[in-house]
């Protein structure tokens, strides 16, 4: 693997609640090479979104960085002063969010919100920036962009708003795009278009993607590598093709087996879905030892007493389980 663009090492994020401190994310490490796509998959509360916020330097109380290192192109970014961080955000690392209506400013035209990027990060003046905003809208396939730049977010459909978000995020051709559930609020046919658009533009600009989603199928389809998070930890990380063919962690295997897959019934008939028993533990009550143990069919005594450490797999993969395979 070439020199990583982004490297997160042993990241932990602390949640303070009721005078106590809990580790919402613990010992999370991953790296993204330039132009690469990494998927971060997990259920709600597993810590995937706050991991992204940590990379962006956006953790706020009650969340805080508990330890670890985040480096971009080899230089440490997690202790940068706010002014330096602001230069980084938008220019080198950009982010798109799940709900474009809440992420866009309702009082400002979409043209201005895109143009702002060129003014802040590329030293353009407003009239030149507005022209470039029209081009940016055209790049994300918004019809009649000359007219649309004057629209406010509420005048656009959900899919169009997400296109505007992508236009803003990619305006300065960042090195890394963090997409946090970018299509969850959209209809499936629109989701397919937005995913295609993100891939097409990022490939053209050489932008790496950190794709965060609960949808394993979506992530495996668009990313080269996938990291699966459970209860604040990465439990498995592998190449996308590999993780579906040969999942190593019982949680990953359970997730893949529990979802009704399109086409499965035609081939195999209707089979009872495999359930993962129990529920996702709360951050305040992570079990001792392996955090998946209470729900795991392979659990033994060692899973309770010993926290499994990451076992390396081929091609920079890893799995965190005593009984993997």
């Amino acid at each position: 693997m070439s020199t990583p663009l982004l490297e997160v090492e042993n990241l932990s994020i602390a949640l303070s609640q009721g005078g106590k401190s809990y580790k919402a994310v613990e010992d999370v490490s991953f790296a993204i090479a330039p132009g690469e796509t990494l998927g971060l998959v997990g259920e709600s509360g597993c810590g995937k979104s706050i991991t992204a916020l940590a990379v962006m330097g956006l953790l706020r109380h009650p969340l805080g960085l508990g330890g670890g290192r985040i480096t971009l192109d080899g230089s440490d970014i997690h202790n940068l002063p706010p002014a330096k961080l602001r230069q980084l955000r938008g220019k080198r690392i950009a982010m798109i969010f799940q709900e474009p209506m809440t992420a866009l400013n309702p009082l400002s035209t979409v043209g201005r919100q895109i143009a702002e990027m060129f003014v802040l990060h590329a030293g353009a003046n407003w009239s030149e920036a507005t022209d470039r905003a029209v081009d940016a809208l055209r790049q994300v396939h918004v019809p009649s962009p000359e007219r649309r730049v004057k629209d406010f977010p509420h005048q656009l459909s959900g899919g169009m708003r997400q296109r505007v978000m992508i236009a803003i995020a990619l305006a300065c051709s960042p090195d890394l795009l963090i997409a946090d559930e970018p299509t969850t609020a959209l209809d499936v046919t629109v989701q397919a278009e937005i995913v295609d658009l993100m891939q097409e533009l990022c490939a053209a600009k050489g932008t790496a993607i950190l794709m965060i989603s609960h949808d394993l199928g979506l992530v495996a389809n668009m990313c080269r590598r996938v990291a699966v998070m459970y209860a604040g930890r990465i439990v498995e990380q592998q190449a996308a093709a590999e993780i579906f063919e040969r999942p190593q962690h019982p949680y990953t295997r359970g997730l893949i087996a529990s979802l009704p897959r399109l086409g499965a019934r035609v081939v195999h008939g209707r089979q009872r879905l495999q359930e993962i028993s129990g529920v996702v533990p709360a951050i305040t009550a992570f079990p001792a030892g392996c955090r998946f143990r209470p729900r795991c069919q392979r659990a033994t005594d060692i899973c309770q007493s010993n926290d499994p450490s990451p076992t390396p797999l081929p091609e920079n993969g890893l799995v965190r389980c005593h009984h993997h395979g």
Binding site: V188, E193, H214, G217, N221, Y251, P260, R261, L262, L273
Partner: protein
């Protein structure tokens, strides 16, 4: 074929639900055709999958079946009841036949009622006042949905999402309905919990001989649970038929686009030619001719002016497309 079953549990004939919009001082009144000429049947013990994106009218259709909105025209017949523009639903009576499971179990349970109260109230409302019988039926339904008896006196906030959905299902079943409308019953749940609820719904269907209408945008779920499938687009059914035909040999380009849009790591085949372009037009101003023509990869001149009727491809498999005989 189920279409030919002599006495369907639910029969919908040419149903339309139109909402008047606006009509202020200067603007002319407009009409939103949320449901526009739908015919459907559901046989006893059958599960009909209802697929469509937001704004296609599937929720309005569900509300019409529940008797919560009145039809503008057309007829809904459920067991022994009829609902039409002139004949309003008898809610108390209808509730014993049709019930609903909602999408969000965090929003659809009363936070101030214990599980027992949530489940017992419908029984009392329907005149089952005998305390032992109420207790018995509450305990019975809780066991059926996989809740423990001692959980009856807890409040919704004490339960996880999956358990709350079990309470929602128990509430829907307590009056022993024959038809249950499931409106996206798993999409608000954690991914690792969904299989539990899908399995439970299928078990209950078999045990109790229920009919379902499964409303979902998740085609994997729909394929897994449905006997027949109907696909809606802008207020109309564009294709319906046996689940196997809908998924193996879809004839409407919109159905194909929906299937092509599902990301699936096991099926990375090239489907670019089947994807829909652009976004769903407003239901207030649907395109003339075939509603789908603005996004259709097969669009021809004829589609812009003539609305294709829903006609048979095979017995029991209908599609509303001028090119329905063209296989993919």
């Amino acid at each position: 074929m189920a279409d030919a079953t002599p006495t369907p549990l639910l029969a919908i004939d040419d149903l339309a639900v139109h909402y008047p919009i606006g009509g202020g001082f200067s603007r002319p009144k407009r009409v939103l055709k949320a449901v526009d000429g739908i015919a459907l049947t559901v046989a006893p013990g059958e599960c009909l999958g209802l697929v469509g994106e937001s704004g296609c009218g599937k929720s309005t259709l569900a509300m019409a079946i529940m008797g919560l909105v009145s039809p503008t025209s057309g007829l809904i017949r459920i067991a022994d009841q009829e609902i039409s523009a002139t004949k309003k639903a008898d809610h108390m009576h209808l509730a014993q036949t049709v019930q609903m499971v909602f999408q969000d179990p965090y929003a659809s349970l009363n936070p101030r009622q214990t599980v027992r109260r949530t489940l017992a109230d419908p029984l009392r409302l329907h005149g089952i006042g005998n305390k032992t019988e109420v207790e018995h039926r509450v305990a019975d339904i809780m066991a059926k949905v996989g809740l423990r008896p001692e959980q009856a006196d807890r409040y919704p906030h004490e339960f996880s999402g999956g358990q709350r959905q079990r309470i929602g299902i128990a509430r829907a079943l307590i009056l022993r309905p024959r038809l249950v409308l499931c409106d996206e019953p798993v999409s608000a749940l954690d991914v690792s919990i969904r299989a539990q609820i899908i399995n439970l719904l299928l078990e209950l269907k078999d045990d109790l001989g229920l009919s379902y209408i499964m409303i979902s945008h998740d085609l994997g779920v729909v394929e897994h649970v449905s006997d027949r499938v109907a696909v809606m687009y802008l207020g109309r059914i564009v294709e319906r038929g046996d689940w196997r035909e809908i998924f193996e040999d879809p004839r409407h380009p919109y159905t194909r686009a929906l299937i092509a849009a599902i990301p699936d790591a096991f099926r990375r085949r090239a489907v670019a030619g089947q994807k829909a372009r652009g976004e769903i037009p407003s239901a207030l101003a649907p395109p003339p001719g075939c509603h789908f023509h603005t996004r259709c990869p097969l669009v021809a001149e004829q589609c812009r002016s003539d609305s294709p009727p829903l006609e048979p491809v095979n017995p029991g498999h209908l599609a509303a497309c001028h090119f329905r005989d063209r296989a993919a």
